[in-house]
Symmetry: C2
Subunit: 204 residues, 2 copies
């Protein structure tokens, strides 16, 4: 394609390197920015660069952070006795958006996958163990919640973690599996429906 401007061509090329964004969408976004105030592009450009160059990883939970400790670990109001184990920052954000959890997190940075050559030593598992053993801060960790996807890899990782956590004498739990709220029984897959019957919950 003959772009009327080399600068647009370069911007479109850069935007379309992002996942799920093709040339047409990239062009639409570029033309949108051209129509708006220069200030919008400037703040977008600055925000991206600041995010990439100034963020680091939390030394405790390995989540993305602005400082040595992330906003969650450094928040004293959070329940320091509960740790929720997740795969990545996206999972932390998904759980945070529910407003149902007030404990801390531990970000593994991946999932055990023999097919992709990812073993326990490639993940932040040893640091999780030492967090619990060390009993950092005043409170000891009482419960570890495994919030891993119910896939082959997730189950493998959960099984491995359970085995190692049991030795530390900490309570271990996993997020509930079942029919999604608002989901229709008719359209639920057999495995989920079957498990939801087996793990039925008694009315109080």
């Amino acid at each position: 394609m003959n772009y009327p401007s080399r600068l647009i061509e370069e911007a479109v090329a850069e935007i379309s390197r992002l996942p799920g964004i093709g040339k047409k969408t990239a062009l639409r976004l570029a033309l949108h920015l051209l129509k708006r105030d220069e200030e919008q592009t400037r703040s977008l450009s600055d925000a991206l660069l600041n995010m990439r160059t100034k963020t680091t990883y939390c030394s405790r939970c390995h989540n993305i952070a602005d400082d040595t400790l992330c906003n969650i670990c450094s928040n004293n109001k959070r329940d320091q006795a509960t740790i929720c184990v997740v795969v990545d920052t996206r999972d932390v954000l998904a759980i945070e958006s529910t407003n149902q959890y007030r404990g801390l997190y531990h970000v593994l940075g991946g999932i055990i996958s023999p097919l992709e050559g990812i073993g326990p030593s490639d993940l932040e598992i040893d640091s999780l163990m030492s967090r619990i053993e060390k009993k950092e801060g005043d409170e000891a960790v009482r419960e570890v919640i495994l919030a891993l996807s119910p896939t082959m890899e997730g189950d493998t990782t959960a099984f491995y973690l359970q085995k190692r956590l049991k030795a530390l004498g900490v309570k271990i739990s996993t997020i509930a599996r079942g029919i999604p709220i608002g989901g229709d029984l008719e359209y639920a897959d057999e495995i989920t429906l079957g498990r939801s019957i087996v793990s039925r919950v008694a009315y109080d």
Copy 2:
């Protein structure tokens, strides 16, 4: 939502100001950039800012340009006697991507729309007339192709332009309307199909 990092929160907020990009997609893009080399974010950030701050409008065709003249107007190999009138840069790029047109363009910057209060004086129509009257360069303009969308506004604008261009004694044409290539007759709307019969083309 409780973001673990203020910098990510700001980046997500800025990305989600783009059209068609919600918070979830913005977060996915931000996390993608965090996983990649710093260099990728840096070039994206620079490309956006350069595009926004360094591009200008072509003084002849009003397309986006890096310099006084856009790449198309300053290309001597293009047919200087034909001008294709379009609404915006997107249309220029759409036509350029066909590789079927070797003439110049004229970007109106909008379309006549009484409902939105856009009249002929808000568009680059006078500059189109003077481009043809002045016979810029060595060659005079012989043909003006109207490439406007077949909507109410597009037809109004085309009708207005035809009236004014006729006075200049230049050949006026419009892009062909009909059944799209690969389109199924069965699914064509009646107006398009009707027009495609009326404007049928004889085999040579």
